[in-house]
Symmetry: C2
């Protein structure tokens, strides 16, 4: 009202801008609240109704921002993969030696998983009904790329025609994911047996060591 000489179109734009801004605020408050619930109470007690309650809106408001519950999960799934890729990239950048990069990424993968258990559980559907992530996670391409480039770099000098980086990448990922998920789902059984303390870290080292040796030995290997 006090703004002098504003054209009608300007006013309209201002209003729609504010509306968009407000809508965006509600959206982020949904995501923030949802995440808070997940972190404090776990995935199992995360519900649309609880979020609606917490943000002091009615349930259908949430459905005007997200098509359904799965869409909210997908949002966190994307962010989780982005965080993971960032963590791997940072770890990788600390050295130029391919074998060290692989070691560093392996440890970064482990650290990410246990510093962000909720993300990891969602990303790989550990114990919760997750969302279909295929084709919807842009960072998944970066994920394979950042790992595979180190593998390729490592094998480059004396590479064999049968050497398959994609295969090695999957071995790498499988080993890491298996290690993480077993320790995340059944921690006490695996850790505390007969006083084996921080054994998972030893297993991680062992597995990374085997993997790197496997690539180093790729030139003289017979693929039986």
């Amino acid at each position: 009202m006090l703004t002098p000489l504003r054209k009608v179109t300007e006013v309209v734009m201002g209003i729609t801008d504010r509306k968009l801004r407000q809508k965006e605020e509600v959206r982020t408050s949904i995501l923030d609240t949802a995440w808070e619930i997940v972190v404090t109470e776990g995935w199992s007690s995360f519900s649309i109704r609880k979020v609606a309650d917490a943000i002091e809106y009615s349930v259908p408001v949430i459905y005007s921002h997200f098509e359904n519950k799965e869409a909210i999960l997908l949002e966190f799934n994307k962010k989780g993969f982005q965080l993971l890729v960032d963590a791997l990239t940072t770890a990788k950048s600390k050295t130029t030696q391919p074998a060290d990069q692989i070691r560093a990424m392996g440890k970064a993968y482990w650290n990410f998983a246990f510093a962000n258990e909720e993300y990891y559980q969602l990303m790989f559907g550990l114990g919760i009904p997750s969302c279909d992530s295929k084709d919807k996670i842009p960072a998944l391409g970066d994920f394979s790329q950042v790992i595979m480039s180190s593998i390729v770099a490592m094998a480059a000098p004396g590479k064999t025609p049968t050497f398959n980086p994609w295969l090695k990448y999957q071995s790498f990922w499988s080993m890491l994911h298996g290690l993480v998920s077993i320790n995340m789902v059944a921690p006490d059984r695996v850790n505390a047996e007969e006083g084996h303390k921080d054994l998972p870290i030893q297993v991680l080292d062992d597995v990374l060591c085997s993997f790197i040796r496997g690539i180093e030995a790729a030139e003289s290997a017979r693929p039986d």
Copy 2:
């Protein structure tokens, strides 16, 4: 009534026997029906109410056989681990060479997982709210034993003081579980990329090969 000369106690026993038998029949029909639902419609659409409907009893009847839904899951969980241990044992018995035993068990593990996806999903909580399996699955001890004995046998000749079979067992399991679960949760992404057909099997071979080399090389290894 037509049975001549039965003592009262005999009649009573007969009745209680029949009652026990009938109760057992209902119990197995619950489990059978539940399993049928899981196999045909997946874990997500398995519910107490659906089972009650299918066996033509009311819901509370199920609660007189199982404390809750989780108790039913636990039943399948136990059976799944027993089947897995059996599969591994059978595969192992085909040869006496420890390295071949490990290879055979690795492949048997993979085959079990994809021949019994529902079991595997439940046992390792892939995408479903699973039950707390710790301390309740008797076959879990056999599982570690059947694998570890081959590992020990393999390393026995020139074993190093630092060689840790329990650690190697966990590496083995982690690799296998990672490989299986990644291929079970996101099959198309991993398999069909750029026409890589039955690549998972190659990865399995690669991973098993690395693992066995890792044990063979244990004597001369520096644990960096």
